[in-house]
């Protein structure tokens, strides 16, 4: 048979909860019951909350002074600005506070080796260009690719880095 009426003690707690004066000591147990009990308790609690909610509507509205709105707008703008500042500071702290991690030595070796490989390729290309020059191959016939032409015209020395991280210029003596 479906329950239609709450025990008196439970209904009293529902009333006190709606009035906002349920004893703090009783609240945790009441909330647990509210989660687990039958729908009836939830309905009763909701209904008493609607009842007390209606009580506030008895009070007639009173228009606050205009200055209060201005104060609110200014205060909120100030809070928003502070919030933005705090956010920025927190973001900076996070970014700067990240722990540096030294990569393995092999990564450095791989990087240097890659740089060296690219430099050699460049050297080979220039050497090929000189050979072609000697045999008077006109630019445009054998090397239609503009990108390749630009590479051949570039005589600036390449830059390398020693183990101490100091830059040095490399010259392949092509000219």
């Amino acid at each position: 048979m479906k329950e239609t009426k709450l025990p008196e003690e439970l209904e009293e707690q529902a009333i006190l909860d709606a009035l906002g004066i349920l004893d703090p000591e009783d609240r945790p147990a009441f909330m647990v019951r509210l989660q687990g009990e039958s729908d009836l308790l939830r309905q009763v609690v909701k209904s008493y909350h609607a009842t007390t909610g209606a009580l506030t509507s008895v009070v007639a509205p009173v228009t606050p002074p205009v200055t209060l709105r201005e104060r609110l707008v200014n205060q909120v703008a100030l809070e928003a600005a502070r919030e933005a500042e705090r956010f920025e500071l927190a973001a900076d702290t996070l970014a700067l506070g990240s722990v540096p991690v030294t990569p393995r030595d092999s990564l450095r070796e791989r990087l240097l080796s890659r740089i060296e490989g690219e430099s050699n390729a460049r050297f080979d290309l220039r050497a090929t260009a000189n050979i072609r020059g000697e045999t008077s191959v006109p630019v445009g016939e054998g090397m239609a690719d503009e990108r390749e032409k630009r590479l051949l015209q570039d005589d600036s020395p390449a830059i390398g880095y020693d183990r101490a991280g100091q830059p040095f210029r490399t010259s392949y003596g092509l000219s």
């Binding site: 009842t51 509205p61 009173v62 228009t63 606050p64 709105r69 703008a77 809070e79």
Partner: protein, 200 residues
Amino acid sequence: MPVMTAQLTKLAQDQEWTQLIALTAQGDQAALATLYDRTSAQVFGLVVKILTNREAAEEVTLDVYTQVWRQAHTYDRTRGAPGAWLMMLARTRAIDRFRAGAAEHGRMESLDAAHLFASDDETPEQDVEGQERRRYVRQALAKLAEEQRQAIALAYFYGLSQSEIAEKLQLPLGTVKTRIRLGMMKLREALAPYEAGLVP
């Protein structure tokens, strides 16, 4: 006002306020200002009633909307209408202020709950639905005994516990408990048709 029209008006109002609270949660200052424009008279009216001091009520009202600005993200529509949430914040803040003042100035003894339900509209109101609702709730309250109204008002508007009410009214605790319980049961019954939307 026809029932359906009143319900649709309330629904549209709830939707607008919920949207304004959601925008406020995203940091939209204009949305908070609009919410203030829509609701501040009701909030300020309640706080003035509780504190009977306009200056203190202004400060509390400011605190209420500042709290909305900070905690808009905590509003859960499934747990209640936006107006109810806002009035709960206002009532809680006003009670905190009242109790702090009462502890300081011993105002608890001179507390008069009767004025809370008095019909003294200070502002000529354009909100027909609000007036209608107020009239209906007053009629429901009129069905209670004066002692029941007093006990309920002391609890709800001033946050007094049953023991504090018993002490203030110099009554046995059991009497206060009975007044509150019977009064609330009667009020719930009287308001049920209104809450169910059967009455405009």
